[in-house]
Symmetry: none
Subunit: 154 residues, 2 copies
């Protein structure tokens, strides 16, 4: 059973092979709508991880970027940093995508990786780094966190 199309939840311990391939969990692939043509866009995450978007979701982001005026310096920087590391990757018959050497290095990926569903995208983590990030996030502003939690009834 999958949730809504192009929606990802759950955490999976998978492995990155010597050719730089990672499996996309079957549940995630089943959730992909056909217009994605089995393709994801992989890019640099804002934390120390790889972000994986369904193709059509990425196209959406692209069109938003297009609307940012390059007159503003912050816009130029933002667009550049977002577009720069993005590349499409179609999964093979076994359901694996191939990561770029840059992204593997950036996220510090080794053999064991953690794949995390983030609703509209997927994150690929080195498990150790995710642990560290979790610990740092404990120091996050609790008031702001509570504010979020207040508006989303769980």
């Amino acid at each position: 059973m999958t949730l809504t199309n192009n929606t990802f939840t759950g955490e999976y311990a998978y492995s990155l092979d010597s050719k730089g391939r990672v499996n996309i969990p079957a549940k995630f692939r089943q959730s992909l709508s056909d217009d994605n043509e089995g393709t994801f866009v992989i890019t640099r995450g804002m934390d120390s991880c790889v972000w994986v978007y369904p193709l059509i979701q990425w196209k959406d982001i692209e069109s938003n970027l297009r609307n940012l005026s390059s007159l503003s310096k912050i816009n130029r920087t933002f667009v550049r940093n977002t577009a720069r590391y993005a590349s499409p990757s179609t999964y093979d018959k076994q359901g694996r995508i191939t990561l770029t050497p840059y992204l593997i290095d950036y996220a510090g990926l080794d053999k064991d990786v953690l794949i995390v569903g983030m609703v509209n995208k997927i994150e690929i983590w080195n498990p150790t780094r995710l642990d560290e990030t979790d610990k740092q996030n404990l120091e996050i502003d609790p008031a702001a966190y509570d504010e979020l939690a207040k508006n989303i009834i769980i």
Copy 2:
């Protein structure tokens, strides 16, 4: 007789089998509206238990998460912590859902489990842990109860 749709009350002693399956009480299943497609979303509870949401209830949460921009660190953390442990589970012909190894471990579940109706969701407990939690909660701040009393008429 069931109450309103997608509403759960009562406590049941059931068992978790060697394949990680637990039965959802028939009364709870009967209360599920058809648009849930016989599916629950299981996730990590805030106490030491498993939370089980009807699919449509979860979709609501999910659409809120979708609207949080990942530019903000606090949003990323919130989405990750919420989505990470959640996975859909459709019950089989016998009315059982399958729990993930992570959740079984997190809630410390063994063969005997307690299933508790929590109105809009269901909790699955190790009976011993629920006892312990209850005892701790006896020491709850009476002022907090007074605060609650302002918001709910019982």
